[in-house]
């Protein structure tokens, strides 16, 4: 029983720390920044950068 109580307490503390992190994240600020940007760039596209084969044979990179 003592072990179970200790295990439950450890998980409670761990999850409490996660909840505190989730609430302390500046979600509002990030949403405002994104909204401000999406007023300029109305057709949003995720900023992806996957490898491409284009031009690779003709370019020399140090």
């Amino acid at each position: 029983m003592k072990f179970l109580a200790m295990l439950a307490t450890a998980f409670c503390v761990l999850y409490l720390a996660l909840v505190v992190h989730a609430f302390s994240f500046p979600t509002q600020k990030k949403a405002e920044e994104l909204t401000a940007l999406s007023l300029h760039v109305k057709d949003v596209k995720p900023s992806l950068s996957f490898p491409t084969h284009a031009y690779q044979r003709f370019v020399y990179v140090p």
Partner: protein, 377 residues
């Protein structure tokens, strides 16, 4: 009195189960670690996918009713003033705005930069994303950048860096005055890459999109709902691939677990036989194994989910985020904590319950077998 005695018995029974768990800790450690790892990987992928979807869908809400893009021979092709005039004459359309948008190849680093026209900027200045800044800084472009086009070299001052919170959209972006953007992309002064069409009545959006495609069959008209659908599709697809891998990994794990448990319980047949001879019935033996494995599986699940949260939202998912965002341009994105409790419950249901079933079945099989033989051996 009877209730107190019963609860004491239960308490002692649970303590005995935990004591046995500690005694056989090496047998349980394997299943605990593997199960935690599987839950960790799946939860991480779902957390990343949900967080990216959340930010993108938030941003799409400011999107115009319809975005029109032209194609020729299957490739994006520019539009001229005639398109703006024709679309603005369609009934239900309140305004049409032509915009410049395209990709510039930065050959020295083999990267594509997303060029976006922004009328609020002066001709010789630009705002860049953080990934672009890092790529440019590596080649000592810190205050200004030289766009190398077919005709000439265009020098533009780096005015500002987009904030980190917008990295999901701006990491590979360069915001330029529309005329400078046209010069960089090799477009004429009255040409546009896209048209933003405003339709005040949401019920008319579908009809207007159809009319645009009727007038220009090579054009593509994307409504806001289509854009949201496309984002969801991309992330469901990638999440789906992981879901398939997860199912394969989980099934393999359960088969392994069943074999291991059968072997271990086979060795412990004598122990079970002694418990039976002490007066434990089959139900008690199953309860004993149930308590032990509930502690193992629930702890492994909780640990897996917590580690996934820390990995994704505290450390911003190094390596795994590249599957969703690409790795050519460094993206120091901060993922918004979004936790879908329904999905976590689903993982619990399809993880912990089969885990218990696969462990209890061999225990039951041994408990119902003939115990006199086991005691004699």
């Amino acid at each position: 009195m009877r209730t107190k005695g019963l609860s004491m018995f239960r308490k002692n029974f649970v303590e005995y189960a935990i004591l046995l768990l500690f005694k056989d800790r090496n047998d349980h450690l394997f299943s605990f670690l593997i199960f935690s790892f599987i839950v960790f990987i799946l939860s991480s992928v779902l957390f990343i996918s949900d967080s990216l979807q959340y930010d993108l869908i938030q941003s799409i809400k400011a999107q115009p009713s319809i975005v029109v893009e032209n194609t020729r021979a299957g490739r994006a092709y520019q539009m001229h003033e005639g398109y703006v005039y024709d679309v603005s004459k369609i009934t239900g359309v309140s305004g049409v705005e032509g915009v410049v948008d395209g990709y510039h190849y930065f050959a020295q680093k083999r990267l594509w930069f997303h060029i976006i026209g922004d009328a609020s900027l002066a001709k010789d200045e630009m705002v860049i994303g953080q990934g672009v800044q890092k790529a440019m800084a590596e080649l000592y472009y810190e205050d200004e950048f030289h766009f190398l086009t077919e005709e000439r070299l265009i020098r533009v001052k780096i005015n500002k860096i987009a904030p980190k919170g917008t990295n999901i959209l701006s990491n590979d972006a360069i915001f330029l005055n529309p005329n400078t953007a046209r010069a960089v992309l090799g477009m004429e002064i009255d040409e546009y890459s896209k048209l933003y069409v405003s339709v005040p009545n949401p019920n008319e959006v579908g009809n207007v999109a159809l009319k645009i495609v009727e007038i220009y069959p090579s054009a593509k008209a994307t409504s806001q709902a289509d854009a949201i659908g496309a984002v969801r599709h991309v992330y469901y697809y990638k999440g789906g691939i992981f879901m398939i891998l997860y199912v394969i990994a989980l099934v393999s794990f359960f088969i392994l677990l069943k074999n291991q448990i059968s072997l271990v319980y086979g060795e412990k047949k004598k122990e079970i036989a002694i418990l039976r001879s002490l007066g434990f019935c089959i139900k008690d033996i199953i309860a004993l194994k149930f308590i032990q494995n509930t502690v193992v599986s629930v702890s492994a699940y909780l640990l897996g989910v917590a580690l996934a949260y820390v990995y994704v939202f505290v450390f911003n998912a190094p390596y795994l985020r590249n599957i969703f965002l690409g790795s050519e341009l460094e993206n120091s994105i901060s993922l918004t904590p979004v936790v879908d409790l329904n999905l976590l419950f689903l993982i619990f249901l399809f993880g912990v319950i089969p885990f218990l079933a696969f462990v209890i079945l061999p225990a039951w099989k041994i408990a119902i077998s003939d115990m006199s033989e086991a005691v004699k051996s």
